[in-house]
């Protein structure tokens, strides 16, 4: 009865038009024609880029290691199909800038022939450390879009003795339905992946959280999990950004992750359903992460669908397969329409982070006709992080970035709720991204000038020291000369 006195578990958020039906009602398409060339970036994860160990001209098999993980936080990259390495060079990245990054170009031979993938009969005999190692070696990263190396998270979970593993099946972004379809069609495998993750983290309790707009996925997952009492499947309210890890953690466990902490420090780790599926494939079948399910949707898409594609497939080929109308396409978005990045063109590869590719028409886009802020405070009401976007934007507009930082710029998660709701069409997230970049650049510049100042001071000290030394030597010389003259005079006087 006193539940309303407890701290609220969901804050802010918007109920965006879902537009999932065009893709969520049909099965995942598995017959994507193998592209002739695959462009595989060496960095598809948070952390250091992988280091290539193949040479141009090498013949590789599907699943063969192409580049190895470097350092503590990194992930290896494997060949998405069999063929010949054409090039290792800089190509445009799937990023709004499309700046070149290092990629391996693989010419496929059409055989799609796997390397040896050892099946394991009872992976629960493996040690938890071994599970982490295998997940790391399979190049698995968070497939919800965060792309944090999964093995590192498993290790952190084990070291922090976490009590709850949350599997994120919220899929709160509009349009996207790849997780929904996977939960419907691959529930057994996902639940197996969850059990393997539990084993790898030595944890005994998992919660699969699914937004209540996906009843089919919920029933499938609940059915798959019924034999495993350690896994609880629950429905959560449909409200963007329910899938924000910290919001989900608060909703499921009632705990709030302090700023600057990782969730494992409060006993919770969160993984995406796609990651659980990839874990199942890596441990049970020895298959590394070489493909993923991508939602292709939007008003300009003739045949919207969820399709399993090899990593490194160019978006243009995906668009050709899904019959995207180029004339209708006003914006290409990688990811969901709330947080996704707009891409400058379609000649960019899909990567591990690509949950969806949208070809949006002008009608679907938010108007860019910017008007003055009327302080309606809708943005304050929808902010899940508890910020005041309008005040931050006002500070940024007059270049008072420090003031914006003081009122919470660094706590912004770029979820896009404020931009979504703003009746004046103010691109608030754009302001915040700009300001965050500018603050980082200024800090760097300040650091640099401090370093320069230090060097200057050191140089000055050195010069002073040398001058002082020279002065002392000069004085000594003069003194010596005087002494010599005196002695000489004395001698002469004696003589």
């Amino acid at each position: 009865m006193l539940s309303w006195l407890k701290p609220q578990r969901i804050r802010g958020g918007v109920h965006a038009d879902e537009r999932k039906a065009s893709t969520s009602t049909q099965a995942i398409v598995n017959r994507f024609p193998l592209p002739e060339k695959l462009y595989i970036p060496l960095q598809q994860h948070v952390g250091k880029p992988a280091e290539p160990l193949i040479r141009v001209g090498d013949t590789v098999l599907k699943g063969q290691l192409l580049a190895y993980s470097q350092g503590m936080i990194s992930a290896p990259v494997h060949a998405p199909s069999s063929g010949v390495i054409l090039d290792v060079n800089d190509y445009p990245a799937p990023h709004p800038s499309a700046l070149p990054i290092r990629m391996i170009v693989l010419e496929t031979d059409g055989k799609d022939q796997w390397v040896d993938t050892p099946e394991i009969d009872d992976p629960f005999q493996l040690s938890p450390e071994d599970i982490s190692l295998r997940v790391g070696a399979a190049g698995i990263v968070g497939l919800g879009g965060a792309t944090f190396p999964t093995a590192v998270k498993l290790n952190m979970g084990r070291e922090n003795h976490i009590d709850t593993l949350i599997i994120n099946g919220a899929e709160c972004e509009p349009y996207l339905s790849c997780d929904d379809r996977q939960m419907q069609e691959r529930s057994e495998q996902i639940i197996d992946g969850v059990r393997l993750m539990l084993h790898g983290m030595e944890t005994h309790h998992a919660v699969v959280a699914i937004e209540d707009n996906k009843p089919q996925a919920f029933y499938a997952m609940a059915a798959a999990a019924r034999l495993f009492p350690e896994i609880k499947v629950m429905q959560i309210p449909t409200r963007y950004p329910m899938g924000w890890d910290r919001q989900l953690i608060r909703y499921v466990t009632g705990r709030e992750v302090p700023v600057g902490c990782r969730s494992s420090e409060i006993g919770v780790t969160i993984h995406n359903v796609g990651t659980a599926y990839a874990t199942h494939k890596a441990i049970r079948h020895g298959q590394p992460l070489v493909s993923r399910v991508i939602t292709v949707s939007g008003g300009a898409v003739g045949k919207p669908m969820n399709v399993e594609v090899p990593l490194g497939t160019l978006i243009s080929e995906l668009f050709a397969f899904c019959e995207v109308d180029a004339a209708q396409t006003a914006r290409i978005v990688m990811g969901g329409p709330m947080m996704g990045d707009s891409l400058p063109h379609s000649g960019l590869p899909t990567v591990k982070a690509t949950s969806g590719i949208l070809a949006l028409t002008q009608n679907e886009l938010k108007s860019t006709d910017e008007q003055p802020c009327i302080r309606c405070a809708s943005c304050v009401g929808v902010c899940p992080a508890g910020l005041r976007p309008l005040d931050m934007a006002n500070n940024i507009r007059v270049n008072q970035l420090d003031a914006a930082v003081d009122i919470g710029l660094k706590d912004c998660i770029s979820c896009g709720c404020c931009s979504y709701i703003c009746p004046s069409n103010i691109p608030l997230v754009q302001y915040f991204k700009y300001a965050s970049g500018e603050v980082a650049a200024r800090q760097q510049a300040q650091h640099k000038s401090e370093q320069t100042k230090k060097l200057m001071e050191a140089r000055q000290a050195r010069l002073d020291r040398i001058a002082e030394q020279q002065r002392l030597e000069e004085e000594a010389r003069i003194a010596a000369k005087k002494e010599r003259d005196r002695l000489k005079a004395e001698q002469e006087a004696v003589v």
């Binding site: 965006a16 705990r255 006993g267 009327i374 405070a377 706590d411």
Partner: protein, 357 residues
């Protein structure tokens, strides 16, 4: 390969409510009460209403042109029209034409554009203009026309109404009187007690608005319906109206219970004049009210308290305008001190402590 060179950050999709749509919905919510008021006070009210609104729009266009900005988009956002509309609602219905023009000028030029236009003003433009008019032209601003609906036998015709608005009212006393609150205040000074003063008071007529008062504010029921509709449409939040009305009701009940001869009942407070108009349409002005729910509760309560204090002990029978302006000036302070708690931080902005497991 498709090429789209314009980078943009999320959200790529958006809610469908624009600024002008918000303004038009507020106008829509005001229209029943307005239509009733125009009918109730006849042609002079219609003239004053049209003059005030068109002056507001013209002043806005003039200022925007002076700043060298394109005029049409600014006019089309509907904010000047709404300001003029709200001001007209609060004027005595038979006030001369120049009251409307001067009021619109004060509201748009002094109340809004000198601060930099839409969204920049500290005070509610309509209330600023109304208070300035009340202080500058006390006679015109306190001359309340009798109820004289359009097309009724005793009501002035078109020509006579034209005369009233543009040449001034002759034979004042025949057509005018005091508002309920004004009457009570005057009678208190004659040492009469409430039960005696309120012999002729009809709650029902006041509820539907059949009484002397400002052009569009007399009808409690129409104002209330418009306001509730705005809350349902999520144009305004419930915090300000509720805290304002509850504060007035609680204070009025308290004093009425202690001394029913000198303090009017909460019902009479809520059922009179500008109370609902202020609660739903004026105090909820986005620009001049706080932007957090808690801040809005404080703001509403402050408005309610000041309205009650001015009505009860002040020199003016109606205190809404002054109360709103005073609380408007407190809005930046409220927003400074009342902030939402940031996720993962305590109220002071420090990171939360890691709970012991």
């Amino acid at each position: 390969m498709m090429i789209h060179h314009k980078p943009a950050s999320g959200a790529h999709v958006g809610a469908n409510l624009s600024v002008s749509q918000i303004m038009w919905r507020v106008v829509l919510a005001l229209s029943p009460a307005t239509a009733f008021g125009l009918w109730l006070f006849g042609w002079p009210a219609v003239f004053l209403f049209l003059i005030t609104i068109s002056s507001a729009v013209l002043f806005e266009a003039f200022c925007v042109r002076l700043r060298g900005r394109p005029v049409k988009p600014v006019i089309m956002d509907g904010s000047a029209l709404l300001t003029g509309w709200l001001l007209a609602m609060t004027l005595p219905p038979w006030a001369p034409w120049w009251i409307g023009v001067v009021g619109a000028g004060l509201a748009i030029v002094l109340g809004k554009q000198v601060y930099g236009g839409l969204g920049q003003n500290l005070f509610n433009p309509a209330m600023l203009a109304r208070v300035a008019l009340l202080i500058s032209f006390p006679i015109e601003m306190t001359t309340w026309a009798n109820v004289s609906p359009l097309f009724f036998a005793n009501s002035p015709g078109f020509a006579e109404s034209w005369h009233i608005t543009f040449s001034g009212l002759q034979n004042l006393d025949a057509y005018t009187g005091a508002t309920m609150l004004g009457y009570i205040k005057t009678e208190f000074s004659q040492n009469r007690l409430l039960p005696d003063i309120l012999k002729d008071y009809s709650p029902a007529l006041n509820f539907i608005g059949w009484t002397r008062g400002s052009l569009g504010e007399t009808s409690t029921v129409l104002m209330g319906l418009g306001g509730v509709w705005l809350i349902r449409e999520k144009i305004i939040q419930w915090q300000i109206p509720v805290s304002l009305l509850v504060t007035v009701a609680v204070l009025a009940s308290l004093f009425h219970l202690i001394d029913g001869d000198h303090y009017i009942s909460p019902f009479l407070h809520l059922n009179s004049g500008a109370m609902l108009c202020v609660a739903f349409f004026i105090a909820t002005d986005y620009v001049t009210s706080p932007n957090t729910p808690t801040g809005q509760l404080v703001f509403g309560a402050g408005c309610g308290l000041l309205i009650f204090v001015i009505r009860t002990w002040g020199a003016y029978p109606e205190g809404a305008g002054f109360a709103i302006l005073l609380m408007n000036s407190a809005t930046p302070l409220i927003d400074h001190y009342i902030r939402p708690r940031i996720y993962g931080r305590d109220r002071q902005g420090k990171p939360l402590e890691i709970p012991k497991l």
